[in-house]
Symmetry: C2
Subunit: 448 residues, 2 copies
C-alpha cells in the first residue's frame, strides 16, 4: 500500500482530496490529510475508509519527521510561505513532492539535491500556473516540429462566474482566496509588445486593458498578469515580439478596481488603528485629503478620482458599500483586510450559480519553409462548475496535481529534480489524463 | 579592559567607530570592528592601537559564538535584516546591544528574554529615529510636568546639503544609502490632522506636501514620513488631534520625485532583462504605452504625466539623464537599481561642500489650570558637516549610539529589556552628553 500525505485542507483543496480518496481503494493507496485545523482535515476526508485526518503543524519537526518518513509522496497545498521548508524536508526524507503553487527561485535551486536523492519536486501543477503551461508547451512544441516560428504569444486565464450569473454589477464572484483578488498586481507587470518591453507600475495596471473574445462567453477584458517576460525563456520563445500573459474579467471590472487602487484601499502594510469600530463611510474618508468644505463624501471621492459623480464607476463603489453607515466589525487591521471582507460579503457566488474557468492561448506563427505562410491559432478551454458538486476552479486547480500524484506513484513520471510542467515527459501523460477527465481545448486556426 | 564588538563598517558608521576608538585608551576599551569586507573594517580602524579589524560573516555561527562571548557589548550597524538574529544571539550570550535602526516588532517581543538575561537591547539610537525621539520625549515630559495638554505634534527630520550648496537643480545630495532615497515612502504613509486619520498610498505621497520654515535655512517642504500614528501611543500623546512626522526637502524635490513614482521608475521587485545594455532613453521608454505616432520621447513623457513639456519638472527629469543616449552599464537588474545609480552619479555631495541635518519639533499645548493659556513651541536642531572631517549625518547618526555604548559600559544605563530611547532613564543622560558634544536645540515659544 502506498501512503499519500496531503498537507493542507483549505477551501481550494476539496476536489483534489476527494479525487485521491476515490481512487485510493482500487490503486491501493492510503491518504493522510493534515491541517492545523483538524476539523477542516476531517471534513475533507469525510466517510472514506481509505483516508485519515490528522492535526498538522508544519513547524513541528517531530511531526514532520514521522509523517514524511512513512509517506510515499507529499502533496503540498499549504501557503507558498512553507514551500521551501517542505521541499527541503522532502529531499531530506527522499520523498517526491507535488504542489500547485508558483515555484520559488530558492526551491528551483534545490534541483541538484533533488536529483541526488532521486526524487521529483514538481510545482505549478494547478490551473494557472499548471494547465496553462502544459497546454501552451504542447502547442509550442508541436508548432516547432512543423517548422513554425512563433511571433506572438498571448495567454489568458481566469476564474469567473458563468455568463448567465448576474448577481452583482461587477460581474465577478470570489471563488478563490479573496486576499489574492485584493492584492492582485501589487508588484506591477511587464510584457513585450511589438518587440518593445513595457513595464507598468501597480497604480496604472488596471488602466491598461484590452478586449478578448471567449467563444460562447462573449467579450472579456484582460489586464497584464505579473512578469510575462520570464516565460520567453522558460517556454523557449526566442522569436516572439509580442508576449503577454493576461488575467480576464468581464468588462468594467478593471475601471472600477483601478479607482480602489488609486484611492489606496488595497494597502496591507499599514495597520490602521481602531478600524473595526469605524463605519465604511469613515474608512473611505481616511483616503481623502482633509475635508474643509461641506460637500458630500461621494462628490469628494468623485472629484479626487476625476470621475463623474453619477457615472457607472461611482455607482459600483457605492454598491460595494464604501459609503455605507454600517460598522466594519470583524478583525480587519489594514485597508486590504476591509476590502477582502467586503468582497467576501458582496461578491460571493450564489448557491445555485455556476462558476467558470477560462483559459485561452493565442499564438501567431509563420512557416519559413512553406513560403512564409502565416496563421493564428487560438485554443480555448472553458469549464463550468457544478452547483451541486465542485466549482470549476477547485476542479481545474486540483485535477493536475492529483493526476501528477497518481502518475508519480505508478512510476509514470520517472524524472528527478525540481520541475514545472513544461517538458513533454510531464505534460504529455498529464494532458492525456486531463482529456479523459473531460477537459478539452477547442482549437481555431485562421490564416493571416 | 572592556571589549566592544562593532558589527558593520559601512559608509554611515565612520563617525561612531572613530568616536569609540578615540575614547578607548582613556576608558580602557578595546574595539573590534567586524565586516564582511575586511578592507572596510581595516579602513575604519585605521592606525588606532585600541582597535582591530576582523572579517565577519553574520551567518557564521562559530564566529558569532567566539566574538559575542568575548564582547562586553555589541554595537549592531548591519542591515536591519539581521537585527533579530543579532538580538537573539546577544540574549543567548548575555551581552547588551545598541543599534540605530528602527526596532522590529519581533525584536520587541524579546523583551522578557532580555529581562531574564539582565541585558538591554537598545534600538533607534541614531538621528531619526534617535535624537528626534529623545528630544521630543524630553519636551513632552517637561510640558506634562507643567500641566500642559498637547494638542498638536509635528516633527520633521532630514539630511540635506547646506543652503549655500547649489550643485544640482533638485538641491538634494545623497549623503546616505541611496537605495533608501529611491524606496522612500514605498509603504505609503498615515497621520492625523485635525482629529482625522489620513492614509496615503505611495503613488500620491509626494503630492501631499506643505512648507516648513527652518531658521537660518529658509523655507523647506515636507512630505509625510511612514506611519505617524504609532507614535501617538509610543509618545503617550493621547490628546493630540494633529500628529505628523515629516521628511524635509528643499522645495521642488517632491513634485519631481512624484513623477518618477508615477512613471514606475522606483520599482524593485520586477527584474528587467538586459537592463545594463539599454540606454537611459530606452529605459525610460519601457514605462510608456506602446509608441505609435512619431512624437518625441520627452513630449510623450510630458503628455503621459500631464506636465508642461518645457516646465521645471521636465527640466529636472532631463537633467537627471532619463533621456540620454548613454548606456546604463553597471549591475542594475531593476528600475530602482537604475535610479539608485543615477542618484549616486548626479546627486553626490561636492568634495568641499557641507551637508546639513535638520530636526524640528512643533508642538501646540494648552494649560487648563492657567486659564487655558495656549502656546506653540518650536525646537530646531541644525548641524552642519565638516568637509574636511565627518558629515553632519554620520555624526548625528553615530553619536547617540556611541554615547549609549559608553553609558552602558560605565553602568549608567542600568535598565534591562528591549527599549527605544523614550524613557527619561535613557534620554536624560544621552541628551546631556549630546549637548556636551555641541548638539543643541534652539527653542522658540509663541503664545497662541
Amino acid at each position: 500500500m502506498k501512503q499519500i500525505l496531503v498537507l493542507g485542507a483549505g477551501q481550494s483543496t476539496t476536489y483534489l482530496i476527494d479525487y485521491l480518496l476515490k481512487e485510493a481503494p482500487k490503486e491501493d493507496w492510503f491518504v493522510t490529510v493534515g491541517d492545523r485545523d483538524l476539523n477542516a482535515a476531517q471534513k475533507a476526508v469525510g466517510e472514506y475508509a481509505s483516508g485519515s485526518a490528522i492535526p498538522f503543524d508544519i513547524n513541528d519537526s517531530t511531526l514532520r519527521a514521522t509523517q514524511f518518513q512513512k509517506a510515499d509522496i507529499v502533496v503540498n497545498l499549504l501557503s507558498p510561505l512553507f514551500q521551501h521548508l517542505i521541499a527541503l524536508e522532502c529531499i531530506n526524507y527522499g520523498k517526491p513532492m507535488v504542489s500547485a503553487s508558483y515555484a520559488q527561485p530558492r526551491v528551483k535551486e534545490l534541483d541538484l539535491d533533488a536529483n541526488r536523492k532521486g526524487i521529483i519536486i514538481l510545482n505549478e501543477m494547478g490551473l494557472d500556473p499548471g494547465i496553462d503551461h502544459m497546454s501552451a508547451m504542447a502547442l509550442i512544441h508541436s508548432l516547432y516540429k512543423q517548422g513554425g516560428v512563433i511571433t506572438t504569444f498571448l495567454s489568458y486565464g481566469a476564474g469567473l462566474p458563468a455568463p448567465e450569473v448576474n448577481s452583482n454589477p461587477l460581474r465577478y464572484c470570489v471563488t478563490w482566496n479573496p486576499r489574492n483578488v485584493v492584492r492582485a498586481g501589487e508588484a506591477g507587470a511587464q510584457y513585450m509588445e511589438d518587440g518593445k518591453i513595457k513595464v507598468l507600475p501597480y497604480h496604472n495596471l488596471f488602466n491598461r486593458t484590452w478586449t478578448v473574445d471567449a467563444e460562447g462567453v462573449g467579450t472579456l477584458e484582460a489586464y497584464p498578469n505579473r512578469d510575462s517576460l520570464i516565460y520567453r525563456e522558460i517556454f523557449g520563445l526566442d522569436d516572439v515580439s509580442t508576449m503577454i500573459r493576461g488575467t480576464l474579467r468581464y468588462p468594467g471590472w478593471s475601471e472600477t478596481w483601478q479607482q480602489l487602487v488609486k484611492l489606496g484601499l488595497t494597502n496591507e502594510t499599514m495597520p490602521i488603528p481602531n478600524l473595526q469600530k469605524m463605519t465604511y463611510r469613515e474608512f473611505t474618508q481616511l483616503f481623502l485629503p482633509l475635508h474643509i468644505s461641506g460637500s458630500k463624501l461621494t462628490n469628494r471621492v468623485a472629484n479626487l478620482l476625476n470621475l463623474s459623480p453619477t457615472g457607472k464607476i461611482m455607482e459600483n463603489l457605492k454598491w460595494l458599500g464604501l459609503f455605507s453607515d454600517t460598522v466594519i466589525n470583524g478583525e480587519a487591521t489594514s485597508a486590504s483586510d476591509v476590502l477582502t471582507e467586503l468582497l467576501k460579503k458582496k461578491l460571493n457566488l450564489p448557491p445555485d450559480a455556476r462558476d467558470m474557468v477560462v483559459l485561452i492561448h493565442e499564438i501567431e506563427v509563420r512557416f519559413p519553409e512553406e513560403n512564409d505562410r502565416r496563421e493564428r491559432l487560438k485554443t480555448t478551454l472553458i469549464e463550468y462548475g457544478d452547483p451541486a458538486g465542485f466549482t470549476a476552479i477547485a476542479k481545474t486547480v486540483g485535477l493536475p496535481a492529483a493526476i501528477a500524484t497518481k502518475l508519480i506513484l505508478k512510476g509514470r513520471l520517472p524524472m528527478t529534480g525540481c520541475h514545472i510542467p513544461i517538458k513533454p515527459a510531464i505534460y504529455t501523460p498529464v494532458l492525456e489524463e486531463l482529456k479523459k477527465s473531460g477537459l478539452k481545448f477547442k482549437e481555431d486556426v485562421t490564416p493571416l
